[in-house]
């Protein structure tokens, strides 16, 4: 079990390495999926690209914010 967790952590560290970035991007993807899939959000669809870009940028800022507090 410990080994499996260690392997998963190594994989996570290789591809991402930061939970703040991970959850920021995950949330952004969910929001874009909602905008593209839900008819109620069709009006926002032309802005989906901009929202995606802002989501990525904010994920980076959120992650760097921690470095300023150390």
């Amino acid at each position: 079990m410990k080994m499996a967790v260690r392997i998963l952590k190594e994989i996570f560290d290789f591809f991402c390495g930061d939970w703040r970035v991970f959850w920021g991007i995950a949330l952004t993807v969910v929001v874009i999926e909602g905008i593209e899939g839900l008819p109620a959000l069709a009006a926002v669809r032309p802005w989906a690209g901009l929202i995606f870009f802002v989501g990525v940028a904010l994920s980076l800022v959120n992650s760097l914010q921690r470095e300023t507090k150390e």
């Binding site: 591809f15 970035v21 991007i25 993807v29 989906a48």
Partner: protein, 260 residues
Amino acid sequence: MVWSAVLPSFFASTVEFVEALTIVLVIGVTINWKSSLLGAAAAALTLGVLVLIFGSAIVFFIPIEVLRLVVGIILVLFGLQWLKKALLRYSGLKALHDEAAIYEERLSELKARGEIDAGKCNGFGFLTSFKSVLLEGLEVAFIVITFGASAGTHKVDGLWAAAFGALLAFVVVVLLGVAVRGPLTKIPENTLKYIVGLMLVTFGTFWGGEGLGIAWPFADLFLLVLLAAYFVVSLLILRWLKPYGRAQQRLKPGVGGNRS
């Protein structure tokens, strides 16, 4: 030639190969060249096999639409790591990667291990060289596979183009290493890391967005708009971080033991 696959692959590979070269040089000088070069060659072979297996699996079994979504999101995550490190180094919150210091540090560590037979292949030297080249090369392999498979409409052409970029970087770094006969301290590693980070995040956003159903205006030309936008964002972030970097350096002069 798919330039969008060649360039990121070339820049990323240059950074990683410079780091790997430092370790190979240290092993060569302190233990012996046989162990060092054999370790590096074995790692290069392992990486080649990995690219071949995963590259061909991706080319033959995964549709390009699925690939772009998955690869896009992973590239964003991967690219943000590079960009974050580069911005922290530019702002002074993290120490710059100093190949000369790493070289000296490793050299004294290995010298402390005692005399070694220069003619025989040394297990420790082989493994250290193998591990370093493999670990540095894994990121290169990942970039070659993802960019190669997603950059063009023909995945095989893309893979060849990305592999060409990596090979070119390898040749350049090795030639410079032979010419300098020491660690490559003049290569602006952080700038390269910053450029690669921007490229990875830009392509990742573009492909990930396409996979999620976003129709980018002006098709592929929008990549340039995204690149410019991320560049501006990174400059704003740097402006925000610099005072923190200066404050940290005032509190702890010579900050940044962590060079990873």
